[in-house]
């Protein structure tokens, strides 16, 4: 494969490209779904493709294909060059920040390749957990999934960089639907790790699935919170999602160079409390492993916020040049066919010193917002508004946890909400997901996030009106 990729970038240079790179991407995915005690589907896929990216006259020309013969790909090189030339009149000068060419391979060590475990073994584990989730007559639907992703990437550039990554991810997910008094509620939850089948073997999925159902049974009868603005404690599952939406996206270099991000022009400014330090790290335990990005740049640990000060952005080679900074290894592509764009890897907050009890005791009237059962979130980076949907959460009255609340939607403005972070807990978790990911510009990327328990002074919560 290395030789073919090398041939393609040489060919592009011969046709006039100032710079060229070529990526081969092989993905094996397996998704097994059981529902209400029987197997629903077993989907498996093997995809391979090559993408060629050329820089010529200040614009990118990109061509890709799943047809992997030398002749077909040679044609694609010509197309990429032709496309870059066509854009000439309306293009600007894209300049890539200098990087030292490297040759490296990172393969995630895996004890058991999920592909060598026979389908019937996986089906048995899944069906057992799926049945274990039917904990009572009120559970109307139990849907369980096993997911496996084996992602292999080769990258070769005309500057001599040659890297290969090989990452396997495994996970289990459960969605339970409960009904009571004419109302229905669903609770989704998953656990994944960059690991082989040993991750599935090491987990008690029957208990995990049953717990999700018990939560669904409980939350279906819970009230909605009254709409308004409250102090809130976010748990480690949710603080990651919060930082991802409220800070991570706004720190993406492409959104900063276009001045779309509300963080444009604020490098060095204090935008949060001194207790807040946030990183983007491609190699944190529990997160999704990204040793290099799809421009062959090593993913370093990037400090976004240091003691409340905006310290850095997430950058590709061209956005680094535009901002006069060093690339951080955040140019990522969903697959061979996509253009690498600036993406997060694993965004998390550094823990502080407070215990969970101390955090709860400090809230007079507010909510303990939990990530378990959360559906995700979204941000309007330009407008600076973010939102996310929490899992079943709890009312806090006079420093004590009270009853459960359901359907908690939260929203805020990026800069205002960051300033309301008041206290940081001492626990710490980072997680990723084989099932989901982060969407941007029509591409999905595997990411992770996390942190400690954190108290916010003011967060808008949607709900009922009394």
């Amino acid at each position: 494969m290395d030789d073919l990729l090398k041939y393609l970038v040489n060919r592009a240079r011969y046709l006039g490209a100032n710079y060229a790179d070529s990526r081969f991407h092989e993905v094996r995915t397996t998704l097994i779904t059981a529902e209400n005690g029987s197997l629903r589907s077993y989907e498996s896929d093997l995809s391979k493709g090559v993408g060629i990216r050329v820089l010529l006259g200040g614009a990118w020309g990109i061509a890709s294909s799943t047809i992997l013969t030398k002749e077909a790909l040679r044609q694609k090189v010509s197309e990429a060059v032709r496309l870059a030339k066509a854009a000439k009149k309306l293009s600007t000068t894209i300049n890539l920040a200098k990087v030292k060419p490297i040759e490296a391979t990172v393969e995630l060590p895996v004890k058991t390749d999920p592909d060598v475990i026979s389908p019937d073994v996986k089906i048995k584990v899944l069906l057992e957990a799926n049945k274990a989730a039917i904990v009572g007559a009120d559970i109307k639907n139990s849907s369980s999934r096993l997911g496996f992703l084996h992602d292999i990437r080769f990258f070769t550039s005309s500057e001599g960089t040659k890297v290969k990554t090989d990452v396997t991810t495994s996970g289990f997910s459960q969605v339970s639907v409960a009904a009571a008094n004419g109302a229905m509620e669903r609770v989704p939850e998953q656990r994944s790790q960059c690991a082989g089948y040993e991750f599935i073997e090491g987990g008690d999925w029957n208990s995990f699935a049953a717990e999700v159902s018990k939560l669904a049974s409980k939350v279906v009868a819970a009230p909605m919170p009254p709409a308004g603005t409250y102090p809130a404690i976010l748990d480690p599952d949710l603080i990651g999602l919060f930082l991802h939406e409220a800070l991570g996206h706004a720190s993406e270099g492409d959104l900063v160079t276009t001045k779309e991000s509300v963080l444009d022009g604020r490098l060095g400014d204090s935008i949060a409390d001194e207790s807040v330090t946030v990183f983007d790290d491609g190699q944190i335990e529990g997160g999704y492993l990204v040793p290099f990005d799809d421009e062959g740049v090593p993913k370093t640990k990037t400090t976004i916020l240091e003691k409340g000060r905006l310290k850095g952005f997430l950058l590709s080679r061209d956005t680094a040049t535009e901002l006069g900074l060093e690339p951080t290894g955040n140019a990522r592509a969903q697959s061979f066919e996509h253009k690498p764009i600036v993406r997060m890897t694993n965004v998390y907050m550094q823990p502080g010193g407070l215990s969970f009890d101390e955090l709860v005791k400090s809230v007079d009237h507010g909510f303990y917002i939990r990530g378990r059962g959360s559906l995700g979130g979204q941000v309007d980076v330009g407008g600076g508004t973010f939102t996310f949907r929490a899992g079943p959460s709890y009312l806090i009255e006079k420093g004590e946890l009270k009853h459960m609340v359901r359907a908690v939607t939260l929203a805020g403005k990026v800069l205002e909400t960051l300033k309301t972070i008041e206290a940081v807990g001492k626990d710490f978790t980072v997680t990723t997901s084989v099932f989901g990911g982060c969407g941007k510009d029509g591409q999905m990327a595997k990411v992770g996030d996390g942190g400690p328990h954190v108290r916010l002074g003011k967060l808008t919560i949607g709900g009922r009106t009394d």
Binding site: A59, L83, V177, R186, E337, G382, T385, R464
Partner: protein, 456 residues
């Protein structure tokens, strides 16, 4: 015979030879062209994808495997893997068979020759049109992100009952974000388009709308909490209906006890003013196809008719379970954001073009009629709502206050919520005549009474 049809026939033959009782293969070829821009062009892209999946059944055990290739050895590998999975699978007592007859419905304007023959020059020209339109309105406006993407999608399907069919469609998608103002006071707006034809993108009109709104959004602020009447722009209301209905009105959701509509056929679930029809053959509809992803012709299916729940949406499997015909709603392209090519997934029922029936008023009349309220243009997070409990909430990214029936100051950053099941029963009975789609849902500009606003 085309390459993709030959590949499916080869796959079915190989699968049967390996021991399946029944087999089906679906192949896809996609040629995509994209252009990514800001105030200038950043990248131009072309992409070819070809792939195939094999679905086979042995003793009522189903196997499925897909490969990104139409080569003989890869097809053989897919058939072998599918068989391995089927043999490990548990028996599905509800399995009947693959369709024994395919059919083609008459559907118009799903192929645009212009998209098939599109040149790089055409795409560059369209970007120039967008950039010029924005800057003619105000040279200080910045296009922060934009793309135009087109695809020619060819599919072939065949099965071991001797059925085979082919179809071809085109699609064009565009998206643009424009920013007005500086670092502190800023307004950003987005517009998107999806169409079967190149001209359907309406690039100049979208660029104009997004620019004018971005300027108004510079002064946007939240409003106090309370109850409020609202008017939703057509496509934004389409996203709401997408979040609240498309996954629960399928026979699959009903049969598996995750639909709140189970057991309610024939009952009034909405006011008489509400009809929701799946128009599988709509001219130029983004979900219109001659046949669905199992070879069944697409058709018109009333889901809610004058408030009465009439019919769920079926694919072959869910239809067989109830011994009734499929409604031609088998889809392999469900999944929302960045859905993989359809050959990679087995089918499930899903709407083709779900139309919320429009009324006769113009959108301006609906706003005028509302007197005092909120006109909601852009939201985020509406897809996080819960279609099973009916809890709907969306965070407003772009809206305008309605005062005395006129649009007033810009609003953003508040959460609006309601129970969708209650909304259906008389709180969304005033709708305009302007159908527009978001994903598979076509909706008109719609008034929604009495929503909860969580703001300052």
């Amino acid at each position: 015979m085309t390459e993709i049809l030959t590949a499916t026939e080869t796959a079915v033959r190989l699968a049967m030879k390996k021991g399946f009782d029944e087999a089906e293969a679906l192949s896809t070829k996609i040629t995509r062209r994209d252009i990514i821009y800001r105030n200038f062009i950043e990248a131009t892209k072309t992409n070819t994808i070809a792939g195939l999946s094999v679905r086979g059944v042995i003793d009522k055990r189903i196997g499925f495997f897909s490969v990104s290739s139409l080569d003989h050895k890869d097809i053989e590998y897919a058939a072998e893997q599918a068989l391995k999975i089927a043999k490990a699978n548990t028996e599905d007592p509800d399995w009947n068979s693959f369709p024994r007859r395919y059919g083609k419905a008459s559907v118009e304007k799903v192929i645009d020759k212009k998209i098939e023959q599109l040149s790089a020059k055409d795409m560059v020209g369209e970007v120039r049109l967008a950039v010029d339109t924005v800057h003619e309105i105000d040279p200080s406006l910045a296009i922060t992100r934009g793309y135009i993407s087109t695809a020619v999608l060819s599919n072939a399907i065949s099965n071991s009952h001797g059925c085979k069919l082919e179809r071809k469609e085109t699609i064009a998608v565009s998206w643009i974000a424009v920013k007005a103002g500086g670092t502190d006071e800023r307004g950003v707006s987005h517009e998107s388009s999806i169409s079967r034809s190149w001209n359907g993108l309406k690039t100049a009109r979208r660029a104009e709308e997004v620019s004018e709104r971005a300027i108004k959004m510079v002064k946007a602020a939240p409003i106090p909490k309370g109850k409020m009447d609202t008017v939703w722009r057509n496509d934004t209301f389409g996203s709401v209906v997408d979040a609240m209905l498309t996954r629960t009105i399928t026979a699959d959701a009903v049969q598996r006890n995750r639909s709140p509509w189970a057991g309610k056929i024939g009952q009034a679930i909405a006011s008489e003013q509400v009809s929701v029809i799946d128009e599988g053959k709509m001219t130029a509809g983004v979900g219109s196809r001659h046949f669905d992803d199992e070879g069944t012709p697409q058709k018109r299916t009333p889901v809610i008719e004058k408030g009465i729940l009439r019919c769920f949406l079926y694919d072959n499997y869910t239809a067989n379970r109830e011994k009734r015909p499929s409604t031609g709603n088998a889809h392999r392209d469900v999944g929302g954001f960045s859905t993989p090519p359809n050959y990679m997934r087995p089918p499930i029922p899903y709407p083709n073009n779900l139309v919320v029936k429009p009324m006769s008023a113009t959108p301006e009349e609906v706003i005028k009629e509302t007197r005092k309220g909120l006109y909601i243009v852009e939201t985020i997070g509406e897809w996080l709502s819960n279609p099973i409990s009916g809890d709907l909430s969306a965070t407003v990214a772009s809206a305008f206050l309605i005062e005395n029936g006129e649009l007033g100051r810009a609003v953003k950053g508040v959460i609006v919520s309601a129970n969708f099941f209650d909304m259906l029963k008389g709180r969304m009975d005033l709708r305009a005549n302007d159908l527009e789609n978001a994903g598979p849902v076509y909706a008109p500009t719609t008034q929604v009474l009495d929503m909860t606003v969580a703001g300052e």
